[in-house]
């Protein structure tokens, strides 16, 4: 870090004296990211007898995986062979109206716990036991995995709009089959859960969102220093499987790659693992190795949420007609691709601009600013995503009751809207307010831990605060308008 700053080519007035001063200052700053000796990890929920018994049980997480896999099978069957109209299809309702909207909420509350009980993970484990070759993860995947996840996420969103995946049960069914096939290939040839760690687009999303989560699994490094068990928490034992997401609790400082499967808890002979409850977004305040691809994913998701919202607004059809009249382009895929590219680029471009402005004052280059402070926007990102998803859950939730009820012979005569537009908007604005506060606080925390001088802090805080304000205002305006229903 300090070497990068010292050899920075874009600063012509650099002198050995200034470099030494910068080096000394950043080294001091870096030290502030370390946890101080004796600093409490937080309240350990494994001290609760019930939680401890559940996490240490050999039935965990299998006892949850079995019923979830059964529901997943039902969803897949309905999507492929059920009613062709999304409005009547229980698979579509369960997948896109119930599960998808609740997912970000689960990430915020419990981190990547969903990944521990995900049916795809269970399938991968099963295939591995059956025919697994257990080849090591290719270096290519380790290096570019998150970029692949970024590209997959954008492709799926684009394909949804162009081919109508959500509106078509058949399209959703094909998507599930493709994912299933990818999981089978990964499970058959590669170690552990390579797909979940390096390829799953939901894994990328959950990795980012779980940083704001309230649960953190960590090891007591003082006990680990005396451990003679040859990293049983990472490699597993004769009776307990290895960490599926290739995380080593002793050095772990992020929840992005921990799915709380409890393998390390069961394998650790010293009981050095604890699961602590922490303040939401706290992990983002202490990030030591920010990655540009993760910041990019956060911005891409922000763009995706904005586009999803815009396409559901009443003015979207008028905008299409206007583009049609102005440019003469009649193909929807062409128009949408252009809108999509612009929509995703806007948050990325704004973050780049803010990073460029901040780099003039905080002595770090644009890329480092982009990587580091992109994380500060994750709380707002999660909030906007949740606000969007709450509309689907509450305005279309009745379709889950009606379609699943119809599956079992019942009849639901109520409306699809579970609550009115007013309460939904209040909820949406509450989420956005929390996101705004979370992002501003995270920005402040990162800035104050990173920089000591008020000048550097101010010159960093200002551009990124403006960016957070612009993105919040954009979301506030979008959520003011009534949205079209999918179901």
């Amino acid at each position: 870090m300090s070497q990068d700053l010292g050899t920075r080519p874009s600063r012509p007035k650099s002198s050995p004296r200034l470099d030494r001063a910068v080096k000394a200052r950043t080294d001091q700053d870096d030290a502030r990211f370390d946890r101080q000796p004796g600093e409490s990890l937080g309240r350990d929920i494994l001290k609760n007898r019930f939680v401890s018994a559940v996490m240490r049980s050999r039935w965990y997480p299998g006892a949850f995986q079995i019923p979830i896999a059964a529901v997943f099978g039902l969803v897949a069957y309905e999507l492929l062979a059920g009613p062709p109209d999304a409005h009547d299809n229980a698979g579509t309702a369960l997948m896109w109206v119930l599960w998808w909207p609740l997912l970000p909420l689960l990430y915020v509350l419990f981190g990547r716990l969903w990944c521990a009980v995900c049916p795809f993970a269970a399938l991968s484990d099963f295939v591995q036991k059956l025919v697994g070759v257990n080849r090591p993860v290719p270096p290519f995947l380790k290096k570019y995995g998150i970029w692949i996840i970024d590209a997959t996420f954008l492709s799926i969103t684009w394909a949804d709009h162009v081919f109508g995946i959500i509106e078509s049960p058949w399209g959703s069914g094909i998507l599930l089959l493709l994912l299933t096939f990818a999981v089978i290939v990964s499970g058959a040839f590669f170690q552990r859960r390579t797909f979940c760690r390096y390829l799953c687009f939901l894994g990328g999303l959950s990795g980012n969102y779980s940083r704001t989560g309230m649960l953190a699994l960590r090891a007591d490094t003082e006990i680990c220093a005396t451990c003679t068990a040859k990293a049983a928490c990472f490699n597993g034992t004769d009776t307990v499987a290895a960490c599926p997401l290739f995380s080593f609790p002793r050095t772990m400082d992020s929840s992005a790659n921990c799915n709380l499967c409890a393998n390390c808890i069961k394998a650790c002979p010293n009981d050095a693992i604890s699961i602590t409850v922490r303040k939401p977004t706290k992990e983002l305040w202490f990030l030591r190795n920010p990655k540009i691809e993760e910041s990019f994913l956060a911005m891409a998701i922000m763009g995706i949420v904005i586009i999803q919202n815009v396409t559901m607004l009443p003015g979207w059809a008028d905008a299409l007609a206007w583009v049609n009249r102005t440019t003469g382009i009649t193909s929807y895929p062409v128009i949408f691709t252009a809108v999509f590219a612009v929509g995703v680029s806007i948050p990325v471009a704004l973050l780049t601009l803010a990073a460029k402005v901040a780099s003039h004052g905080n002595l770090e280059n644009t890329f480092k600013n982009f990587a580091r402070f992109g994380y500060a926007l994750i709380p707002l990102d999660v909030a906007a995503h949740l606000a969007h998803n709450m509309f689907h859950l509450l305005a279309e939730g009745g379709s889950v009751i009606s379609t699943v009820g119809a599956l079992f012979g019942g009849k639901y005569t109520g409306a699809a809207m579970l609550v009115g537009n007013g309460p939904i908007q209040i909820l949406q604005y509450s989420f956005l307010t929390l996101g705004l506060v979370g992002s501003l606080y995270t920005l402040r925390a990162i800035t104050h831990r990173r920089y000591l001088t008020p000048t550097r802090r101010r010159s960093t805080m200002l551009p990124f605060s403006v960016l957070i304000g612009i993105l919040t205002a954009l979301n506030v305006v979008i959520f003011m308008y009534p949205m079209a229903h999918r179901m």
Partner: protein, 190 residues
């Protein structure tokens, strides 16, 4: 008491009889809940399927084949139809519809002359624009679902992957056994 001692005390506790009892209860409860859930869901699904299959023949027998289709030809044997079915009286004996004098001729939507042109998409409108299909046909991915070829491709691909992985695993196993044998043979020579 230090943290390490705390941990060891907890470790001892984890092996205690009360925790084992709790674990047994959790196991029994989870297995019981899963079995009960499967039983309830399965019976509900079976019941609803039976109801649906019992209702289907009745519906097919009552609704004529051409209802709802674009085919303007009348049913081949109108005599088979129930006489009291609403709107299905084709005998001609009922009173013929007469003009209602009070009804204004220019009432919106009441033009029965058939002279007005049918709505059609403007020339500049893209036919593949979502929600803009005015052809009346319901073709598309939602209706046309080639299940057999898709499942066949998926199943075939999966089988090929599993087979290839199985063969590679066998080969790896053979290689490791051969290495082991060589090592043992080398030791025996010494």
């Amino acid at each position: 008491m230090s943290r390490t001692e705390d941990r060891s005390a907890k470790s001892n506790y984890s092996r205690s009889a009360s925790e084992a009892l709790l674990l047994r209860r959790i196991r029994a409860a989870s297995v019981g809940a899963t079995v009960a859930g499967i039983a309830v869901v399965g019976s509900l699904m079976l019941t609803s399927h039976q109801e649906a299959s019992a209702a289907t023949p009745l519906m097919v027998s009552v609704v004529p084949v051409s209802v709802g289709s674009d085919d303007p030809t009348p049913p081949a044997n109108p005599g088979d139809m129930p006489q009291d079915m609403p709107g299905m009286d084709m005998s001609g004996s009922s009173p013929a519809p007469t003009d209602v004098p009070a009804m204004p001729q220019d009432m919106p939507g009441m033009d029965m002359g058939g002279s007005s042109p049918a709505p059609k998409a403007p020339a500049q409108m893209s036919p593949d624009m979502p929600g803009m299909d005015m052809s009346g046909s319901s073709s598309g991915a939602a209706v046309h679902r080639p299940l057999a070829p898709v499942l066949g491709t998926f199943g075939g691909g999966t089988a090929a992957v599993l087979l290839a992985a199985g063969m590679m695993r066998r080969k790896d196993l053979d290689l490791s056994l051969a290495k082991k044998a060589t090592r043992i043979a080398g030791r025996a020579k010494k």
